[in-house]
Structure formats: structure tokens, C-alpha cells
Symmetry: D3
Subunit: 246 residues, 6 copies
């Protein structure tokens, strides 16, 4: 089994953290590969970042498609998730969706902990899209930049513990770490607060492995059908086969 795990941003650093999470979560002895795009912003903290990240992700999906068994998009805004599901029939997991489908199996309700307040509407949009508005109690933020998380690791963990406590008071039974960059904090926060805390990358690994194991592939009958051939100006080379361009 060959899992391609695509970091949504272009930070090799973040890819390292993702790699550890995948390593820890992977079921089988199978191969996986974490790829860092050579295009796009160093962190995803909004829609512009996310739209560039989507293209970065798509290019990686197209590039690795022939040898992959499935894909993980390791960025909490799930950039390019639906396009990836068009490009390939092989299963594609977005870490945000994966974490939410996991969370609802562990409790009635969840909250998402994420660094920046500005990400709240974006994440709320995903929650709504995936069907979990009734299950999502809150999106708690701690006012730190995504890049700042690493530099202030101890502080960040403490802040997330506080944020998690607030979420629990509001009724959350499960917490989701809303960011690939937060991978690894889950054990500490969970121990402190006494609730399951989900690392979304790990959730995506097991969800993807599950789909592959059951030989399930994305439905091609309607909205995720393969892209139609057409002209594409200045087409990224990775996508030229898809667009069958001259």
C-alpha cells in the first residue's frame, strides 16, 4: 500500500511533524510518502493561502496518481479535496473531514481548537459542508499565527488546554486539533482534560487505510467524475495529461 500524504503548505518543517503523525498512525508496514509542494504559501491561514494550496495539492495528486493507493491532504482546510476526488478514483482523505467523522463516533459533540481567530468562518464552512453543524459546539482559537505555534510550543499547548476547557464547558465531548501543525499535542491535552483529543492527520491515516483496505473508490457517477478534457492555458505540467492538451 502506498499512501501519498500531501502537506498543504510548502514548509518542509511541517512535513516532518506530519511524517511523525503518519508513522504513529499507520496500520500496516506499508509505504507512505509525505510530499511537500514546491509551490504555495508556507502556512495556510485563510482563503488566499487555501486557494494556492489547493493547486499545490492538485499538482501533487496528479503527479503521484500512477503509483499511489490513496491520498491524504494534510492541511486542516482540506484544500483541493474535491478536485483531488475528481482527478483520481483512488480514495482521498482530507484531515478536517477525517477528524470530524472520527469525532462523532466518540461523543455527541466536538469542538475544534485552532490557532487563529480568522480561521473560524473558514472552518465553520467546512463543518457545515460535511454535515456536522449540530455536532460542532464551537471553534476555539488562541490568537497565535500558525508559524508561531512551533516557536511557542509550550505556551501554545497551555493555551489550547484553556481553550479546550472552555469548549468542554460549552458542551464539547471531543476535541479536534484544527491544524496539521498541531500534530503531537493531543496526548498532553487529552491527559489534562480527560476527553479524547484528535490529531487530524492520524484520523486521516486510518480513514484512508480503511477505504483502501475495503477496495472502495470515489464515486465517479456525477459530481466527482473525472475532469473533462479541454484546453487549459499555461497548464501546470502535472495536469497536462488530464487536460490532454496539445
Amino acid at each position: 500500500m502506498d499512501l501519498i500524504v500531501i502537506n498543504g503548505n510548502s514548509s518542509a518543517d511541517v512535513s516532518l511533524g506530519i511524517s511523525s503523525a503518519v508513522e504513529a498512525a499507520i496500520f500496516r508496514a506499508g509505504d507512505f510518502r509525505v510530499v511537500t509542494p514546491s509551490f504555495g504559501p508556507s502556512t495556510v491561514e485563510g482563503y488566499l493561502d487555501g486557494d494556492l494550496a489547493a493547486v499545490a495539492v492538485i499538482k501533487e495528486v496528479a503527479k503521484w496518481e500512477p503509483e499511489a493507493d490513496g491520498f491524504i491532504i494534510a492541511c486542516f482546510s482540506d484544500p483541493g479535496l474535491y478536485a483531488a476526488r475528481e482527478i483520481t478514483a483512488k480514495p482521498v482523505a482530507g484531515i478536517a473531514q477525517s477528524s470530524m467523522v472520527t469525532a462523532v463516533q466518540l461523543g455527541h459533540s466536538f469542538s475544534i481548537l485552532t490557532p487563529l481567530q480568522r480561521l473560524r468562518p473558514l472552518i465553520a464552512g467546512l463543518v457545515k459542508k460535511y454535515g456536522f453543524s449540530d455536532h460542532c459546539v464551537s471553534i476555539e482559537t488562541i490568537h497565535i499565527s500558525v508559524a508561531g505555534v512551533k516557536e511557542n510550543y509550550e505556551r501554545t499547548v497551555l493555551d489550547f488546554i484553556d481553550a479546550g476547557r472552555k469548549a468542554i464547558e460549552r458542551g464539547a465531548e471531543v476535541l479536534i486539533l484544527g491544524g496539521a501543525v498541531l500534530a503531537g499535542m493531543e496526548a498532553t491535552i487529552s491527559r489534562e482534560l480527560g476527553v479524547p483529543v484528535l490529531d487530524p492527520v492520524k484520523c486521516a491515516v486510518v480513514q484512508l487505510e480503511s477505504l483502501i483496505h475495503l477496495s472502495l473508490s470515489t464515486s465517479k457517477i456525477c459530481g466527482f467524475d473525472f475532469p473533462r478534457e479541454k484546453e487549459c492555458l499555461d497548464c501546470p505540467s502535472e495536469l497536462s495529461t488530464i487536460y490532454r492538451q496539445k
Copy 2:
């Protein structure tokens, strides 16, 4: 890893089918055990059946709790699922919920194929409870009793193919077989219709194995906290430890 798979009804026959599905889906070489309750109706075709099945399931959960790593409730109405999540901290998968969380990772929308029309409101209630009303296009039925499925296997498969075609016309991208008794039909229907068709038992196996593998347990902080000790009249022996009854 020791998975306890509880048939919601008391038919040893159905347990055999469940067993094959589990066998086919299980990831690891680990042990599993399909248990058939010695209490309750032979099929679940409504609320009364379901309420009895819930108690049957609960008793099995309590009985096997000490040696289990997790539980599957292999009955499409997920009887006793929430009570089971109270009794044990170990993860519990209901095949209806498992199939839905799997389906939304493969397409925008799904339909559920199930034998009896009278089950439609019951299943619609589950869909709403789990958050997937917007994703569920329809619940298609073919007017056969659950017990009749086995006797008319060929006919049933053909009827479900027709029902699936109708669902696809209505916009479904993925189909879910709504019943443990339908296990094994998914390949034929999928081949015929060209869409993913989910056997819910298999979905539950991989979802449960995923939770166990990540060492995740049910949140005990609020609604799924362990049952409170109290007097229970005529308490089923399996539950006496829980109620700590004299």
C-alpha cells in the same frame, strides 16, 4: 485485538453472514467473535424489535466488556449503541453510523437500500441524528421482509439493483446496504450500477479497528459517562455489576 461483533437479532443464520463480512474486512490477524443474543426477535423490522434488540445488545456488551477491545453492533438500526457507549469506554461502532461516515468520504450524497418500507422513518431518524440529512438523497425500499431476503436472494439482489438505479437518478453517488442481512450483495450491485455500494458491517469493522488502533475511547465527560449506580428491579444478571445491585 479482540473485536466483539454483536448481531442485533437472535438468528444464528444472520450471524453467519455477519461473520463472513467481518472476516473479509478485518485488517489484522487479530481475533474477533460474532455473538448471537439468546434474547430478542429473530429480525429487527421496527421500533419494538429494536427496543428489545437494544437490551439484547447491551447485555452482550456488559458480558464481554472485560475481554473486548471494542464492539460492533451489527444491526442497521444501531440498537443500544448509545447505551453501549455508556457501559464501556472502549469504542463501539454501529453499522448504520459507520456506513454513513464512510459514504460521505466517497461521494457528495448517498442513498440507503433497505428491505421494508416501514423502516424508512426509523432510518431517516438515524440519518438526521448523525447529521447526514443533507447528504442522504433517499431511502429506497423493495417491499420484502428481512427474513424473506434470504429465501429470495436472487430476486432481492435484482430488486435492489432497480432501487439503486432509482436512487442514482435522484442524485445518489454512493449506495449503502441498509441491513446486516444484506451483507455480500455489495459487489454485484456495485458492478451493475457503477457506484460504490457499502456493506455496513465491513464499514464498522474498519471504523472500529481504526479507533482501537489509535487508542481512542468514548468520551466519558458528559452524555456517555458510565451509568450511575442505582437499584434496578429484576436486573438482567449481565448488568448487575453495573448497577451494583444487592
Copy 3:
């Protein structure tokens, strides 16, 4: 008219309180009977309790069906309500549903006051199922066990007054006492806070009498059709006629 009022738990004590509430609410000089199951937990404080209570209720419904004109399930989680509606065509009122349909005729919005925090997700599930998520402002709890209510009656009333005040600040116009055990507190709380406070048992009495008076019976055309005959292992004797078991 013969109303059968089924206490969902096995406490004769609670049945007494229910009896007073029924007495106070009943319209006609007709007969009613409050029955206490000889099976199940002494209070309902979660899903396990509720699933056992459901079977306890179902058995009473089956037992009294021949001579009843209608049934009330006097437990705020409405255990066995849908199964009861299958078993008999005679109308069945659940006190939670009855209180909510009453509340929306008195104000734009309501809150539910209930003893234990752990009951919040369970009750929220009922609110959603019955269609009142938009009308339900909050579920306020006071951290006392259901059994503790009686022992700390004065304190409990005061705590509910505080909880009700909080609910009103959040926008509630009507308050519902979320528990059969709370019957009788409504006048004091209402007087103190100046809003309607509903005793759910009383609401159920008038709702049920209304249905009986209009000769309305549960729809048998689909989801509440009579249970299908089938084998049932270790079938409770009260249900043997239903399952037509050898």
C-alpha cells in the same frame, strides 16, 4: 375513558408524584391508572437506564392494551414511545413531546430544566427529533441526581429558579420541567419568574385526552404499523401475543 400512565422507572415513590399530577390535570371524571414497572432502574439518568425503561414501558403497554383508551409514558426521555405506537393504535403520549408541543403554543421559545448535566445530549436529541431545535434556547441543569431531587426538594426548587432565570436571559419565554420527578414544582417557579412553567405529565394528560376525545389513533400506514409476527427468543410474556410465539 381509561388512561394508563406508565412510570418509566421502577420507583413507586415517583409514581405517587405522577399520580398527583395526573389527578390535577385530568379533564373528565374518567378513570386513570398509574402503573409502576416491576422491571428496570429506579431512575432514568442515561441511555442504559432509558433502554431498560423502554422495555419496561413496552411490557406495560402490551399488558394494558386491551382495556386502555390511551397511554402516557411518564418519563422525560420518552422511553419506548415509538415502540408503544407500533404495539397499539390507541394514542400514546410521551411527556417530553407533550411538553414541547404545549410550550410552542405559549411562547416563541422554551428552555428545559433538568437535574443532571449528563442528560443534556439525550434531551437535545429528543428536541431535534421532534422538530424544536430552533425553539429550544437551552437545556439548563443543576447537578443533582434524579434521586436527590426528593431529598433536597427546597434546594432543588431554588436551583431551578436560578437555572430558569439564566434561561430567560438567554431568550426562553417558557420553561419545561424536564423530569417526571419534578412534578409539582411548576407553580412556585412560575410565580417567582413570571413565565409559564410546564409540568410535562400534565401536558401529556391533556394532549392524550385530546387525542382520545377526537377519536384519533396512531397512523398504521408505515413506520408505526403493528409489529410483524416473528420468533422472539426468551420473549417477555407480555409480548408473546404480539410475536405470536409458539
Copy 4:
């Protein structure tokens, strides 16, 4: 007990039908009075009609307030319902809301049968407002004017039977007659189709009597508080006490 039943339109004819329905439904030997406004359109078939009817209703509520125990607004668009709940603390039932809260106690789902297609969005608006969008399967219409119902009584009943059959195929378990003018048809349609068919006037009678019997009054704490005193130009005489106008 003095029930004031206000015909929403100005047809004495319709009032007669309403009167029979009330007579048939009333619980106690108490008095009731059906009043026909001396203002407004002869039937309510849209928003303009409804807005005039609202004022007609309001004037009657204000006029009869001192001697009433409660009010019924006997017009399926519930004109003036919320204003009436402001003017008086005594309970006010709208026949549309009453029929819906009754319907959900008899089945999972209902459809509304109503004469004119143009009324569908108006009624759909009420369904949404009262919280029953998930329970309402369809609003079936038969393309006859409200006035035409009477002239073509036999035909209308047959058409509603057809419409009801369509609703049942779509999943409705209960049917509501969407119009005061349809009172009296319920028995025939119910017998023919085998499902409960609700006369909304009768539902309102029992709902209102229930509220009165329990001494419940409309919450005055926020949105239904008594109207504020103020100047009102050309104030209808019935409302002058409310506006305390010179």
C-alpha cells in the same frame, strides 16, 4: 369556559361549518361563540387577504377579551395569531399550528391538503416557522378556489382523496385538511385512505381547552408582551383601549 372562535374571513357560511366542527370537538358543556368579522375578504387565498384577515381577527380578540377564556383563530393561515398573543394573556390557538402539533403525535410525518396551489408557499412558511419542515412531506393542492369548495363538495372530496393518496406515496402518515372550509371532510377521507385525517378546527378546540384547563397563559416576558401604549392614527375603536388613545 367561554371560547371565542374567530372565523378569519367574513363569510357567515364558513362560520356555520366552523360552528359544527367546534360543537363536535368541544370537551365540556361550556359555552363557545363563533364570531364572523364584519370586515375583510370573504375567503383567505393569499397574503393580502391574510393581512386584512389579521386585522379583522385582532379586532375581534380585543372586543371579546374581557369575557373570553381563550381564542381560536379559525383560518388556516393563522392570521393575527401572534398579535392576538400580544393583546391577551389568555391562550390563543391558530388552527394551522394546532393541527401540526396534533399531527406529530400520530405519525412521523404529515402532508397538508389545501385547495389552491398559490397557498403552498404561504403554508410552507408556517410549517417552517412552527418547526415542522422535517415532518411535512408535502402540501398537496387540487386547484379549486376556497369558495368553490362548497359548490363542488363531492368533487372536492374525491380530489382530496387523490391528493391524499399521492401524499401517502410520498411518505405522509397523517393528513391535515388545510382550511377551515374543509371541516367535515375528514371522516370520509380517513375511511378511504386508512390514515388519520385532521380537521384543524377540532384540533384547535382541544388544544385550546387543554391550555385553559391547565391554567396556562401566553408568556408575557418578551416577544408576546402586551402592546406598548402609543398614538395610533385612525385607530379601530376596538383597539383604542390598547393604544390608550385620546
Copy 5:
């Protein structure tokens, strides 16, 4: 282009403020006319006021229909909006709806600032009806009567700034002034809080002008079809042509 702007209440004073707002917002050099009804309450602070205002508005719509190009109902409860859309095919803007469709183009979410707490359920009803419950963060009130706004202008502005700050903390990105009487405050509040603040009258002007400019008229195919001819007792003279009464 002739815009008829109808003040929903009978205060000439408020009409002046509306007039300034229209003046400031109007696109073209075209004519507009603000009309003050000679009927109805001096302010709209609830359902009774609103129902009278609806009739006042309707009469003005009927009266000015022949010479108008479109209508604005300048009262935040949008009284008579749907009836007006029946009476005329020319576009009709309600200031509440106009402000909400404008707000969602400027931010993910909005809050509405309005004087009286009792208006919250009424306005929440509009938000739900127009589809914006997910976008509306809160309805903030400051406990002043509508008439009091003018007398305490400075204080009111400061109170709304506080209320707006609370809304922003709750996640609002845009603020709507919920009342025609608040016209003119938007610049100050916006400057202070750094978010767009919408004067609903201005929003209605541009929305209406847009519809007129594109030659769009209200759909007459179903729910907004012209009123049906019928008898109307004591018919307001302005409506006699519509009802074609003898």
C-alpha cells in the same frame, strides 16, 4: 423612475429621517416620494403594531401603484411585504430583507442592532424566513423604545456601539441597524468599530433600483400571483379596485 417609499408607521418625523436616507442612497436623479400612512401606530414595536402597519402599507401600495416603478417598505419588520408583492408586479423591497442580502455580500456573518428586546423573536423570525439563520450571529438590543431613540440620540448611539462590540465578540463581521428610525447612525458606529454598518433604508434603495434597472418584476406564477377577486366587507377604498367590489 418613481420610487414610492412607504414609512410603515404614521410618524411624519420618522419619514423625514427616511427621506434623508433615500436622498443619500438614490442612484439616479429620478424622483422618489416618501409617504406616511394616515393610519396605524406611531411606531412598530411588536406584532399588533406590525399587523396594522401591514394594512397601512398595503393601502399605500394600492394607491400609488399606477404611477410607481417600485416600492420600498421602510419599516424593519417588513410589514405587508408579501401582500405588496401580490398586489403589484413591480418590485417591492423590504428594508429588513434588503439589509440582509446586502450584509452577506460583505462578510460571513452579521448581527442586527435594534432598540427593544421584545422585537428579538419577531426579527429572528424574519431572519429564518429569509434564509439567514446560519449567517445571523445575534440580535442585540439596548432597551429603549423606538420613540425614545430620537429623544436620546447621543446615548442611543453609544449604546449601539456597545451592543455592536458585543456582537463582534460573538463573531459578527457586519452590523445591520434594525430600524428605519436608526437611519443616519451607521457612519459613527462603523467608524468606531471598524466594521461595515448598514442602514437598511439605503440598502433597500439600491436593491430596488437594481431590480427596476434590470426590468425585473415579481414572479406571478404561484404564491405572489395577483389577489383573486372577491367580496370584501368594509373594504378600504384603496383596495376596492383589487377586490372589484360593488
Copy 6:
């Protein structure tokens, strides 16, 4: 006033049609400019196309920001709309959102007519995101490629008339043409079917002009705040100022 209208795809052809629509709709004598990206697919018929189009749009927004007064994204999937609202404070209209906010002012409900069936889930996602799921009756498709529309213009119009008729039978009161490429068909279809038919480009022109005219700008307080400075690999030159990259 300088409106920048960005064709979401790279077909100069389509830009011509957009240009005519803008020309026809523009209010003032002001300047506008339709720009065709030199990047991306020739039509947008899915998520991959849309994600590339988003970046194409974003680059144009960044490029023209200094001299624009506002932007229109003239592609019915609104690619890059939210990123554009981050990049600039000047108002940005997406033609899908613009058409929906316009439609709800003309009728209770709308349907969207669009060429390809595969676009249905994508468009349904937009409808849900913008809050109009309750207002959207259906998304009707005619099984033609976007490119094919032009070649089969007469046929396409006829097919859309049929599709529109079906939508009306389902309850739609207003029709929206779901594609920039369909601009110009609205008059014919509207005349044939007797309902308003909206060209989304025209709707966007008036919505945008309205926002500009009222000096309204996108809220920068949370989710649409300006993008944060950061490293961006292989950054498109148009975005280098935003990312302040070395």
C-alpha cells in the same frame, strides 16, 4: 467607477458574452473592463477547473486592485470569491451569490438551470453555503457541455425552456441561468415561461454597483482580513506584493 469583471475561464469568446451582459446592465456611464485570464481551463465544469480558475481570478484581482472600484467574478461557481474578499477591501461580487440574493427578492423560491449534471453537487454546495437551501427548489440540467452551449444555441435554449418548465412544476417561482456562458438567453426563456429569469452577470453588476454606490467595503475584522505576510514558494508575480516576498 471602474468595475473589473473577471471571466473565470480563459475563453475570450465567453468574455465577449459577459461584456454584452455587463454593458446591458451597467447603471452609470462609468468604465468597466472584462478581463480574460491567461491561465486556466477554457470552461469550468467541475472542481479541478474551479480550483485553477480560482487562482486565475485571484491573480487578476491582485493585478487590478489599485485601479478598481470593485470586482465581479463572472463564473457561476464563484471561484476565488472568498480569497478575493481577503485580498481587497473593495466589494467583490460572485455571479452565483448575486443571482441568488436577487432571486429571493422576486419570489419565494428559485431553480437553477445549468448545462451539466455533474455540476449539480457543486452548485448545491454554493446554495447551502449562501443560506438558500430552503429557497432552492432544484438544479435542473440538460446534459450539454459548457462549450457545447454556443455551438447548439437554439437547441440549448429549447432544452432550458423544458428544464424551466419542470422546475416550475416543482414549485420554482424564479429561474436562474447557472453559467456566464448562458448570458443572453434570459429574455426568451422568461417570455416563454412567464417567470423572471435571471442572467447572473447582470445581477452581479447591479449588486456590485450598489455596494460601491453606498461606499460599502468587505468587513476586515475576521474571516476576510487581509492575507498575512509570509513566504510563498514560486509565488505568482501578481501576488508577490501581498506575500511581501523577497
